[in-house]
Symmetry: C2
Subunit: 198 residues, 2 copies
DNA sequence: GTCTATAGGCAGATAGAC
DNA sequence: GTCTATCTGCCTATAGAC
């Protein structure tokens, strides 16, 4: 009989990705090693290489899973069917959760290290940002139709500004370890897009 | 007779700092080695260790020089005596120049790698951001007095938002190698602070 | 001040037993 | 699938000659 019931233990590849993801988000792709992951999971380095032949493949898998999880979160937000400002607030709260876990956005971290990364990872990073901006662009257009948002440029430009602003707020909040600092920047960023009271 | 005339060749410590700075801004502190600097300057690794005993000391020196150069640039902007919006634009153009050189802000890069850095470097990074925000706070208050800027929160909050926004725009523009992308985000960020036409 | 030589450790990666 | 053992190369750093 197939195991349809969820179990507390997850498969080894997922546990590897979990540990590696946390390490990359906290220390960067050049700041962690297979040995770090192995010691954290109490497995050997060779076992890691069995599941992910090289660091490049591990990196690709990390981005792929992270982007898929992000896409799921955005879909979930759409499913709630709220107003555009509410969706933007929900979007920003994803970033706040990342900071609360003492992490950087995975792809923000990799954007900093971009020049040192293998090509497949680079392509995937750009895809992540493109997907986020495409979703935000749709929300911003919705807000304009609703009259809940007032843009002074294109929706695509505003989407880029939101992604940049949130990534930067996350980045600069790291040294301070200050969530309130992030929140202030995020709120200011989003309220600057809100329509004047009608 | 003392050498008062400037020469084309600069001293070795400066040349080391120049090469290391470029490498850190492009590849990160964990993404370059003494060997990289040595081969670029055609000197031995041992010579590097003579001037900077360890990587930590080199890192401290890098931040110190970078912060001092930034402080000089801000002083120069003050010396021009323009309006607050003009000063903000000049401030943003410093970041644009960094991006045009295909680099990340040194301290923005180090903020990403923060968890992996020695304590002295951490302290210096926070000092850099504090100094920048203090200067921006002064400019923003000037703008409020002049009536050229209209803040809906404290000057300190707006200063944080500007630093975050510019660092984030720099970070996300890296994968795309797109200066226009940065410019759009910077302009949007600054115009959102401008006072409505009186 | 700069060099060669080298130490000692850790990186990513592989072979082959179980 | 996971292990031990090992390889090769690069890392930071130091010793000592010039």
């Amino acid at each position: 009989m197939a195991r349809t019931r969820q179990r507390a233990e997850v498969d080894t590849p997922s546990r590897i990705l979990d540990a590696a993801e946390r390490l990359v988000q906290m220390r960067g792709f050049n700041g962690f090693s297979y040995a770090d992951v192995a010691s954290e999971l109490n497995v050997s380095k060779a076992s890691l290489h069995y599941h992910f032949p090289g660091k490049a493949e591990l990196g690709e898998a990390l981005i792929g899973r992270y982007a898929a999880r992000f896409a799921d979160a955005l879909e979930e937000i759409d499913g709630r069917g709220g107003s555009a400002p509410a969706k933007l607030e929900a979007y920003a709260s994803i970033y706040a959760d990342v900071l609360r876990a003492h992490r950087m956005c995975l792809c923000g971290m990799l954007a900093a290290e971009y020049d040192t990364l293998p090509k497949a990872m680079r392509t995937a990073i750009i895809g992540f940002f493109d997907d986020n901006e495409a979703w935000l662009g749709g929300v911003l257009e919705q807000g304009q139709r609703e009259g809940s948002l007032s843009l002074d440029g294109s929706a695509a430009d505003a989407a880029q500004t939101i992604v940049s602003g949130l990534e930067g707020a996350l980045l600069v909040a790291r040294p301070y370890g200050d969530v309130a600092r992030f929140q202030a920047a995020a709120t200011r960023l989003l309220t600057s897009l809100a329509a004047a009271a009608p």
